[in-house]
Symmetry: C2
Subunit: 309 residues, 2 copies
């Protein structure tokens, strides 16, 4: 979504507010998978096949970790490791996650700004059917999200402060775009950071989300199952109901044309458009639609996006 927006507007006007509830500490490293995937994607080094990591990366360090019986299900490539090493070293030296994120963005020559939702640790934890509570990466990567979730919480959120610039960006942005991400575990953590939800509520008319559920299924990941497991509905209507307190307009896919009235009945504006970003051109077209919605609402093309996983 950010790549699409970047293609149709001045990228220096874009601020990406990124979920850090997926962050994990592994081998002593501070790993921020969402920040990294966005950085790698925007800079063109992302591995398009896996959806994570750096294209052409090697796994020498990870292979060598096997000798110690260490966790190796979280696949850390050698070049990818450098990002985590740099972040971890800077944080141990006293830098905040925001500061390191800006440095990493500069190193990858991103034109837009990325902000972590918070500099404080917030960790998404999922209680499974069997009563166990697991960290997000254990659920998402190790278990390949093939388990039933009973409850989700964002540990540390109540004590977390929004990172510098987050609230100011949301207060002043001409458009706030909620990317087509998992509402529960990618948008949810951002909403859980104190102050974010109330700003969005106040600015609801300027908030445009794209449904991550198309024709009743998540395009990727477990968004559809999570919505159902937590008492909602795996559809654009379920997404509308989940987000309606904070989102004024929902963009749903052509395939869900028949659900537009139900979305409106949930209290949101509804725009129907092709939302599946198979190519950069499709992403740019969707970005134009998203920004066009707000033109219809009498606003200009400046945008801020809150992407998730």
């Amino acid at each position: 979504m950010l790549a699409g927006l970047q293609a149709v507007m001045d990228p220096t006007e874009i601020v990406g507010i990124v979920n850090t509830g997926d962050d994990t500490d592994l081998h002593g490293l501070h790993i921020s998978p969402d920040l990294d995937t966005i950085t790698y994607t925007l800079s063109g080094v992302a591995n398009p096949v896996t959806g994570w990591g750096i294209t052409g990366d090697t796994f020498r360090a990870l292979e060598a970790l096997e000798r110690f019986g260490a966790v190796t299900w979280f696949r850390l490539g050698d070049a990818d490791l450098a990002t985590h090493l740099y972040r971890t070293g800077r944080i141990r030296d006293g830098a905040t996650l925001s500061e390191v994120t800006a440095e990493i963005s500069r190193a990858f020559r991103l034109a837009m700004s990325l902000l972590p939702m918070s500099d404080d640790p917030v960790r998404t934890r999922l209680r499974l059917e069997d009563g166990r509570e697991v960290a997000f990466q254990e659920y998402f990567v190790k278990m390949r999200h093939s388990v039933v979730v009973e409850h989700v919480r964002f540990a540390g959120a109540e004590l977390a402060k929004p990172a510098p610039g987050v609230l100011a960006t949301l207060e002043s942005a001409e458009v706030i775009v909620v990317a087509p991400s998992n509402p529960v575990v990618s948008i949810g953590p951002i909403l859980a950071v104190p102050g974010v939800a109330s700003v969005l509520q106040a600015r609801r008319d300027s908030v445009v989300a794209v449904s991550p559920i198309v024709a009743g299924a998540a395009l990727k990941g477990p968004a559809d199952r999570l919505l159902v497991e937590l008492g909602g509905e795996a559809s654009a209507v379920g997404v509308a109901r989940f987000l309606r307190a904070w989102v004024g307009t929902l963009v749903i896919d052509d395939a869900d044309d028949g659900l537009a009235d139900e979305v409106r009945a949930a209290g949101l504006n509804c725009v129907v458009a092709p939302t599946v970003m198979r190519t950069p051109e499709r992403a740019a077209a969707l970005a134009r639609v998203v920004l066009g919605v707000t033109v219809d609402l009498g606003r200009s093309h400046d945008a801020s996006a809150s992407p998730g996983a």
Copy 2:
């Protein structure tokens, strides 16, 4: 030296007490260069050309770190990184350096035991001619030890406790071998750990050192210059004077035959033998000499070694 001892006696009877004053924190990692070099050497994976790291290692992560302008003069190979990642992760989880060292030794299938001199941080710091104080790795690796040192201290040593087993090993070992290491920066930190020097003093008759200075020059590293810069002499006699409080016998090289009387005048027994361990056979032969010394003194072949860098 440890490899030589291992070749001529039951390796399970050897305990290596290792300098950790060279340890460094880089990119958030806990790096223990002396422990690692010994582990890699004993397990046969050490790079014989560089004297550090793992043979055939790649440097993908390090190359990727250049993007961030991070420190890259400390060359971390990808497979080598795994050792630091494992150690760091375990220490962050609450393990002691001793515990992790034992785990790493097992992973590399070492037959002998390695003990860090202390589980507490001790950091060798060198004050240079220009008044600046630098950490050991900055001096040794970044500056390639081509600077004049005015003073050496072991920060944290006064508060450090010997690691579990260190004093008991020194108290009960039949022979204590001081490897031919830099007396100032490799043996010095071990001596600075409270309790070590007094045990060695008490057991001085069982302590055999091999001079790292041959024909007035260090076989490798800056031992010769450091001895002179700190007011001593770059010779086997200088080594004898530096170590005489704790070492009963000094083995000096055939090339230094003419210095034997001066070593004895310094108050040590002196044994002249080939000490340059060019091959495993030479190392084994030297080990036999070192152990033979103590046979002459009426002791048996059980040995403990305190190697340095």
